[in-house]
Each structure stands twice: as C-alpha cells, then as structure tokens.
Subunit: 265 residues, 3 copies
C-alpha cells in the first residue's frame, strides 16, 4: 500500500486489501473484503461491493508473479455490486452500474451511464458506448463493438471466431439504439443495424439492416420494426426511443425535443 | 451487531460479518467469511456456505448508504452453498437447497423443499412453489410464477418484456408438474401448462397446453406427453409424477397412493 | 491445519484458510482468502487465485458436518483464477488453467493442458482428456466424456437426461478434435464425432459423424468439414488441426510432423 491516496471521506470496511498507487476519491464506499490491486483509480462517490477485485492481473503477471502497470480507472458515482472482477488496463465512464459477479477483461473502453448485469462476461478489447444496458449473463466476445443506447438482454452471446478455433477474431458490431432479445447468438463480424431488433433465441449469421426485426434459427427478416404492435394496446412500439425513456438522457424532454436541444448546443 | 440472537449451538467460522437484528437459530453453521446484513433470520439446522451474502442491499441503500428494513427469512434446514447472494425482503421455506453463486433478488416468495442450482439468477417479485427444482444457470425474470413440482433444466430463460425495452413486464407462468428442458427460452406472459414438457433448446412464444410436448424454434406441439417413450425400454415415461419420485413427497407411497392419503387428510 | 506440508517457497497471502492433510509444493502462490479444505494436494508452481475454494465438501459433509476423506490433486503449474470452486475426489493434470468462478464437482478426471473458462460448471463424474479448451460458461452435465483436443465455445450445454426428470443419466461423448460452437445444445447420449464441427446455436439430437458440419435446430448435416472455406481467404480451414496450432503440442512441428515424431517414440 505504497503511494496511495485514499480520501478521508471514503468509507473502507473490514478486510479490504489495497495495493500500490491506488487512488480512492471522496465519498467512496469500499465494502468488506474488496481487493484493489495496484494502479486502480476510483473516482468520487463510487460504491464498490463486497469482495470485488479491481485491477485484476493480466496474463503477464503469472510468468514472474510481478504485477505490471495496467491502470484501471472507474468514473464518478459507480455502483459496482459484490463479487465483480474488473481487470487492469480498462477505462470506465461515470455512473457505471453492475450487478453481481460481473467479469470485465483488459483493454476495454466503456462509456458513461452503462449498466452491466449479473454474471456478464466482457472479454478483452471491447468497446462499449454510452447508455448501454447489458442484462444478466451476456457474453461479449473479444473485439466486440457496442454503440450508444444499445440494449442486450439475458444470455445473449456475441461471438468472434469465424472458423473456431482460429487466430483471426472478428468482433460483432451492434449499432446505436439496437436491441437484442434474450438468448440471441450473433455470429462473428455481423453488424446489427441501428434501431433494429433481434428476436429472442435468434441465431444471426448475416448483417441486420437498420430498423429491421429478425427472428429464428437462422434469423430471417420478419418485418420492419415500425410494423410491430404492442399486443395489448395495438400501438406502434418501435423505434423504442420514441416510446421508452427511463434512464435515458431524453427522459425529461422526449426523444425529439432532446435531439433538438442537443443539436442546438 | 446490535440486537442479535445467535444461538450458542450455532457454529460461526472465521471472518463472518454480522449486522443488526440478526437471528441465527440452533444448530446452524455459518462458514468462513459469510456476510449477514441487517434483519436476517436463519432458522434452525441451516448451513450457510463460505462467503454467502444474506440480506443483500436493495437499491434504496445506495442513495444514502443507510440500510432500510428489508427482512430476509430462511426456513429450517437450509443448505445454501458458497458464494450465494440473497437480497432482503424475501421469505424462503424449509429444506431449501442451493448450488454455488446463486443470486436471489428482493420480494420473492419461495416455498418448501426448493432446490436452486449453481449460477441461477432469480430476479425480483418472483413466486416459486414447493418442491421446485431449478438446475444450473437458470434465469428467472422479474414477475415469474413457478408452481409446485416444476423442473427447470440448465440455462433456461424465463423472459418478461414483450417489447424490449419497455416498462410493462409480464412474467411467465409455469404450471405444476411441468418440465422445461435445457436451454429453453420462454417468451413473456407465456403459460406452460400442467404436466407439459418443453424440449431442449425450444423458443416458446405461445401458451403450451397441459400434457403437451413442444419442441423447436419457434416451438410447436409434437405430441401428447403420454406418447413419449423411453428409447431404451419402450415404456411410457410421462406424466413423470408416476415414474419418478426421488425427493418428492410421494417417494414412499407412489403418486396415486400419496394423492389419496393427502386428500383424505 | 494438522499434518500439512506447506513448502517454504510457497507464497501464502492473507486470510487463507488451510484444513488438515494439505500439501502445497514448491513455488506455489496462494492468493488472498483462498480456502483449502482437507486433503488437498497442490503440486509445484501452481497459482491459486483469490478466494478459490479447493476440496469443497461433497454431499456427505452436510448430514453430520464432518468432512470425509475426498482428496483433490491439482497438477503442476496450474493457473486457477479467482473465485473458482473445485470439489474433493477429483484429479487434475498439469498445466491446468481456469478463468474466474469455475465450478468443478467431485469424481472428475481432468487430463493435462486443459483450460476451463470463466463461469464453466463441470458436474460430477465427468472425464476430460488432454489439451481440451472449454470457453466461458459451458455446462458439462454429469457423466460427460470429452476426449483430447476438443474445443467447446461459450454457453454450450452438454445434457444427460433423456426423459427429464429421471434417474437414468446418459452423458454426451465428444470425440477427439471436435469443436462445438457457441450456444450449442447436445442432447443426452449423443456422440459428437472426431474432427466434426457443430455450428453455433445448434440443437443436436442425433450422433454426428466424424468430419461433419451440422447446424440448426434440430441440427442437420450441412457438409463435410473439408468443404468449409475461410470467407476472407477462400482457403480450406478444417480439420483445424492442420491450420491451427497455438497451445497445441504440434505448435513447433505442425500436425503431421508432430504425429510422425509421436508415433516413432
């Protein structure tokens, strides 16, 4: 615990292990048994749940058991629930939330207002935008790219190896506002178009056009998303950005007004 | 650790953290590093595996970091394996068993003789009957209802959002004696009928009639369950309540005799 | 901690719990909060990540809370990442690697150079050969047999109960050099032939012939594996043993030369 800066206003509970060069800013709360390895920087107002491991070792630790410098930065006001493991060499934006037992590997870039659910496994070299929600137990393969305002539901798998096993991984790209329903499997290199919807249990082997609903194994186009009706009300639901706003930046204004106000900034 | 009642006959191992208003009854065993947050009541004869967290914080903790009163009651003779997390505001019956790393959220009602396997994730506001078995890594979405004597096999997903993302969640209902084989995905609001069987890897978008076998993506009726034969013996297998009894209340008498004895009570 | 042999060259970090009859050989590293229950033998050069539980209790512990003798042997140079749980009564070969939160049950035989990814759940009585790779969150049902050089990708399920729920479990067999892509479900008793490939999201209910590609739900033969082309290069990819060698024993020589050198031994 050399060269650390732990704010006096931070709450550090029992059995916390703190490595070298660790910064814990004001009003953080580090619960029982957390392990902060070297070079971890936790910004103000963040809560780190019991027994999380932050700054976990990369592979280069294990040869000589000397921890190399792989900083981890957690943005302001994070809420990281218990038993989550985040590797070094990753940068995470503000208002980050996780469920329990999340694993996030090295060299990932994660934006602001991202939520990652219980048991999610985010592999190395991924890029995740802003306001992205991953529900429980999503597998995000190495080199995946997830743009802003994307929703991914439980047990979805983003793959990356076109000819397994091989050395040439090609990640999936999920464009802004797209949603992938539970249990979907996206094959390597596939592009999931803006505002599109992948139905539950679909196996997607080809690019999905924007504003398109695909379903099935193999997934095929079923309709434009504008044709989907709420079965109870008969009303149009998609693009969801016009009908759903909880936790989104347009929660107050509605999507159109918010977009206007953004573009006039 | 104010206002706690810890039985003298309870075994408390090293590094256990105990909050306020905790009751641990006779002959309980609390293994290394368990966290019992406030208002947890563990009834007699229960085993709590290493590093479980019982009475985990609900969302209302995180705003001011003050734990509100959300009691958790664990019935007699529980066997909760290591690394399991159970939130406050839940009531669990007697003879409860879990595998490792189970997560159970708030406001769930769980009956007697329930078994929940390794990595299962039971979301909030669920109702689980008696003698229910969830195998490994089952996802039970918010507002799911699982009746008595149901079997759910590995990696099954019970969904709840008809138009994701939305605010209107409609849980799945699984009727008594139904079985859902591995990897099945049940769409929001679907009713899985009594004694029915959902084949492995099925994606079920419509209600399943009682005593019916459905398979495929999308799932379609294949036969009545009475027509299913054991491939080795050629014998009728379903309804399984007549051919399988291990751990069931009719283990001694057989289903018919047991039913008679129950109805004459 | 009676009757233990802990090498002077082993690094034992804080809060490690050590039972009776434990052997930790030279140059091992036991990270924070690991629990070594009784009769665990860790061979030289192994790394055991934070909060692993090795030698976890079998069912016979819970009746009288007395640990019976169920030895666990971990071979040389293991790299077992944090939060992994391995039961007693299992033998694991050398150069074993796991991700985080792996669960391995009792009476499994695991060969040399095996890698088991984050969240994998290996049930009891399984047999896993040499140079096998299980990626994240694979479910290996009781009585599964996985031969040498097999690759199994994320969220694959190996089932075992032909008429769930029943008492007669029949495990899956995966023959040497086979690969099962992400999200595949293999039904009970199915044989996955040598050098075969199961496509992502397939539900396999019948035996797969050797050197065959199957896809779909239900899975059907699509082609011989020799007909699969790399979409970018147009080149033949399978059998993969001729085109991929990282971490394999033929990494230096290539498969054919290596096979020759092996057969002349």
């Amino acid at each position: 615990m050399n060269n650390c800066m732990i704010s006096d206003s931070a709450m550090i509970k029992e059995n916390v292990i703190i490595g070298d060069n660790v910064i814990v800013e004001d009003n953080c709360y580090i619960d029982y048994g957390v392990i902060l390895r070297d070079n971890v920087h936790i910004k103000k107002g963040s809560y780190i749940g019991a027994r999380c491991i932050l700054g976990e070792y990369l592979m280069d630790f294990y040869s000589d058991r000397i921890n190399k410098v792989h900083p981890l930065i957690i943005g302001e006001n994070a809420l990281i629930r218990s038993d989550t493991i985040i590797y070094g060499e990753t940068i995470i934006g503000s208002n980050f939330q996780t469920g329990h037992r999340v694993t996030i590997r090295e060299r990932s870039m994660i934006g602001n207002n991202v939520r990652i659910g219980t048991l999610c496994d985010v592999q190395e070299d991924c890029s995740i935008g802003n306001y992205v929600s991953l529900h429980s137990n999503v597998f995000v393969g190495e080199k995946s790219v997830i743009k802003d305002y994307v929703w991914i539901f439980p047990h979805v798998i983003l793959t990356n190896d076109p000819t397994p096993p091989s050395k040439t991984l090609i990640g999936v790209t999920v464009e802004a506002y797209a949603a992938i329903a539970a249990g979907g499997i996206i094959l390597p290199g596939v592009n999931i178009g803006e505002d599109s919807l992948v139905g539950a249990g679909s196996v997607v082997s080809k690019n999905v056009e924007k504003e398109t609903l695909v379903v099935g194994n193999p997934a095929k186009k079923k309709s434009q998303i504008q044709e989907i009706e709420n079965k109870q009300t008969g009303q149009q639901v998609y693009p969801w950005k016009y009908t759903f706003s909880r936790g989104m930046p347009w929660e107050e204004l509605g999507y159109n007004q918010w977009l206007k106000s953004e573009s006039s900034k």
